[in-house]
């Protein structure tokens, strides 16, 4: 991916080429490309004079730095206790039905990826989820229908 090395140069120019710039660069790539590809990580390693295994090791530590292809919209449903108590399972079921995928999968049109995640910090309004960085809380089946219908056209 030629665009990948350009993007990385751009990000490195912005954040620097120190080791401490690694996380912002990885985040920047995920923001643009939804995940970190093999070539992207080697490009980052080159740019920051790190080993590829070091970049891979750092990336895989963070659950938001995906190293597998993801859809344009990554849905992360909170699975921690209060969201679980307030109907997370139904929410997952609704999403699986609407998107016709299971947790961990991406729709064939690469639009949506459905994942579970740990506490999002919306325990008082659970169940909650993120779509990319946008939080949605107080979820019900109806609300999910509205939200996903909205995103499908985005």
């Amino acid at each position: 991916m030629a665009e990948c090395s350009e993007l990385i140069k751009e990000l490195a120019n912005k954040y620097g080429r120190e080791r401490s710039s690694l996380l912002p660069i990885l985040q920047g790539v995920v923001e643009r490309q939804n995940f970190l590809s093999d070539t992207c990580m080697t490009d980052i390693a080159k740019e920051l004079d790190l080993s590829a295994a070091q970049v891979f090791g750092t990336a895989t530590f963070y659950s938001f730095l995906d190293t597998e292809p993801r859809g344009k919209f990554v849905i992360r449903v909170c699975k921690t206790i209060t969201c679980d108590m307030h109907g997370k399972k139904t929410i997952i079921q609704t999403l699986e039905d609407m998107l016709k995928i299971k947790v961990g999968e991406t729709t064939p049109n690469k639009k949506f990826t459905l994942l579970e995640t740990n506490c999002l910090g919306w325990c008082h309004e659970g169940p909650a989820m993120l779509i990319n960085e946008i939080p949605f809380s107080g979820l019900t089946t109806e609300k999910i229908h509205d939200i996903i219908s909205d995103y499908i056209t985005k």
């Binding site: 080159k46 590829a52 295994a53 970049v55 891979f56 090791g57 895989t60 530590f61």
Partner: protein
């Protein structure tokens, strides 16, 4: 002088230097605290937690490897709390570990097994987690096998690869229960920047990282009546093999090793040292030729500084990391590969053997040699020049398998020919040795006199661990043929461990250093600290091996490579002259740029 700190360990008062750890303080009292992730060569990780101790007035049990001593500390290393905690920790490690020990190459040599037997962990306190894990084994590499099911995640390998070697082919990936030691994207070691140096193998406490062993193949060859099996032994094997067979470190066991190899049934027990001397002749002439072309002929295509090429870990490192400097590498093959090429040509002719019936085995302190022998370019005899490479450890196993009482063996001599060598060849096994050997010869070629150092000991180039050693030799009163070198200060640098090699090459690249000749050994201390050497290897053991190597050199009747009579005969009978046509065919090679990531 450091301030002293007073503390009490198991009721004994002790004063140790400020900054020391509890573990170090305990060791000074001969109190043994078990460890797993700790290694003298590496930074402290404090992650296995096996070394926890009880500190009075503190609720948690500190890891003794990571906790510095403080005034008035009262430590218990064997309290009830400590014993249960340690047992829990070892049990936890075992629950994640594929503990079918009898199927493991490290059976009997495993630190986890040792702790388990010490703690009597027979009752399987916890549930077996192994079935839940999707462990994989990477067995694609010719040198090193990585078996995740045996990994206890102590990260010694990761620290080795990063701190000592600056390679970081191995890293830690994922987190929580999925955390594992991984290469980039979990590719095979074959596909990543691994140099096969085997330092990780040498430090792995379990069977997670092991050399690919060729013991059975070698036995098969020995038992095959149609095969003529020649074996060569590297310089650093003879000063370490004893350790693998219960002897103290630093023992010179050359004669016993030869005797053992003969009893194992090798048809000819020969010496890599012979081709080490040959390497010096070829490489010395190559250096002088490069200097002449650069200084006299002003040939801009000549790459200087010239770097040694004996260490296959270093070769793979430079191919990956500094491919732009490949022309700077001496084109000389390593002594192992020179030997292999000659074994199936010169030796075969002289002994009237069909090379296809020769099986060429080498005993090396090294795992990278296994990879080197498998390089496609290493077939200049028309056959695979070296068929099987065994590490010092593997030879130790074979000797045990054969039931030989190693210490009781008589001292025997190498077979001839290709068995005679000089002290200059022996010191190839230590950092700075190739440099010293080359200088002993090159200086004499250029000036007609011996190097101006007492007893031929060029101590300024004798490398030290953990540093890049620079030295220079002033060339004066040359013989007429080399008068263009009159007054030249030959600038040399010696480095061991790839992290230091990287520093040297960066300095060369950035124009910060101006050398003529670079010696690099991939492993700490040189081959004596090689990845294929007996376990454990640590700074103290390496120091003893180094002493032994230089003692062996001093004890040799021939000290200079160019005085090796068998090498001289090789030139008259076969090669004709250094850097001649045959040499180029058999003894020189080329290198392959590889991807940096």
């Amino acid at each position: 002088m450091a301030n002293k700190v007073n503390l009490t360990i198991d009721g004994i008062n002790v004063a140790v230097d400020e900054g020391k750890t509890i573990l170090e303080a305990a060791r000074s009292l001969n109190i043994h605290i078990p460890t797993l992730c700790y290694h003298e060569d590496l930074c402290v990780a404090g992650n296995c937690r096996v070394c926890v101790v009880e500190q009075e007035k503190v609720k948690t049990l500190p890891a003794s490897c990571a906790m510095p001593v403080s005034e008035g500390m009262v430590i218990h290393t064997n309290s009830m709390k400590v014993r249960l905690a340690r047992k829990h920790i070892v049990e936890l490690l075992l629950s994640e570990h594929n503990a079918d020990c009898t199927k493991c190459y490290k059976n009997g040599n495993c630190e986890l097994q040792g702790l388990a037997s010490q703690m009597l962990t027979g009752d399987h306190m916890f549930l077996d987690l192994v079935p839940d894990k999707k462990y994989t084994i990477d067995m694609f590499n010719s040198a090193i096998i990585k078996d995740d099911s045996r990994c206890i995640r102590c990260q010694r390998c990761v620290r080795t690869c990063e701190e000592l070697q600056s390679v970081s082919a191995l890293g830690v990936a994922h987190k929580g229960d999925k955390m594992k030691i991984s290469t980039f994207f979990e590719h095979s070691l074959l596909e990543v920047v691994c140099t096969n140096c085997g330092q990780c193998v040498n430090r792995c406490p379990t069977g997670a990282l092991i050399e690919r062993n060729y013991i059975d193949q070698v036995w098969d060859a020995i038992y095959d009546p149609n095969k003529h099996v020649v074996v060569q032994t590297a310089p650093a094997v003879r000063i370490a093999l004893g350790e693998a067979l219960g002897m103290p470190s630093g023992k010179i066991v050359t004669g016993r090793m030869v005797a053992a190899l003969k009893r194992l049934g090798f048809n000819a027990v020969l010496d890599t040292d012979f081709t080490a001397d040959l390497t010096i002749i070829e490489e010395g002439h190559e250096l002088l030729t490069r200097l002449k072309k650069a200084l006299v002929d002003k040939d801009p295509s000549i790459a200087l500084p010239m770097a040694t090429s004996c260490s296959p870990g270093w070769i793979k490192f430079i191919e990956h990391t500094f491919p732009e400097f490949l022309p700077n590498l001496s084109t000389c093959k390593s002594p192992q590969q020179m030997f292999g090429a000659l074994a199936k040509t010169y030796y075969a002719q002289k002994r009237k053997l069909d090379p296809k019936n020769i099986v060429s085995v080498s005993i090396m302190p090294c795992t990278a040699k296994k990879f080197e022998a498998n390089r496609p370019e290493m077939r200049s005899s028309g056959y695979k020049d070296v068929d099987f490479v065994l590490t010092t450890r593997e030879l130790g196993i074979m000797i045990k398998q054969a039931g030989l009482e190693f210490e009781a063996l008589p001292e025997e001599k190498f077979d001839s020919f290709m068995g005679v060598s000089s002290g200059a060849a022996v010191i190839f096994g230590s950092t700075g040795g190739v440099m010293e050997a080359a200088l002993r010869t090159a200086y004499e070629i250029v000036t007609g006199r011996e190097v101006p150092f007492d007893g031929l000991n060029i101590t300024p180039v004798r490398g030290t661990e953990g540093e890049v050693r620079e030295a220079s030799v002033l060339i004066e009163r040359t013989v007429p043929a080399w008068n263009f070198l009159e007054g030249v200060e030959l600038k040399c640098v010696v480095a061991n461990g790839l992290a230091h090699a990287k520093t040297v090459m960066q300095n060369v690249r950035d124009g910060k250093a101006n050398y003529h000749f670079i010696e690099i050994m991939a492993c700490p201390g040189g081959c004596l600290g090689g990845g294929g050497q007996p376990i454990p290897t640590n700074p103290e053991i390496r120091a003893k091996r180094k002493e032994a190597i230089y003692a062996e050199d001093m004890g040799m009747s021939i000290r200079k490579s160019h005085e090796n009579p068998e090498v001289a005969a090789l030139y008259t009978e076969f090669l004709e002259k250094p850097l001649g046509h045959k040499s180029h065919e058999l003894l020189h090679t080329h290198y392959t740029p590889r991807k940096r990531y």
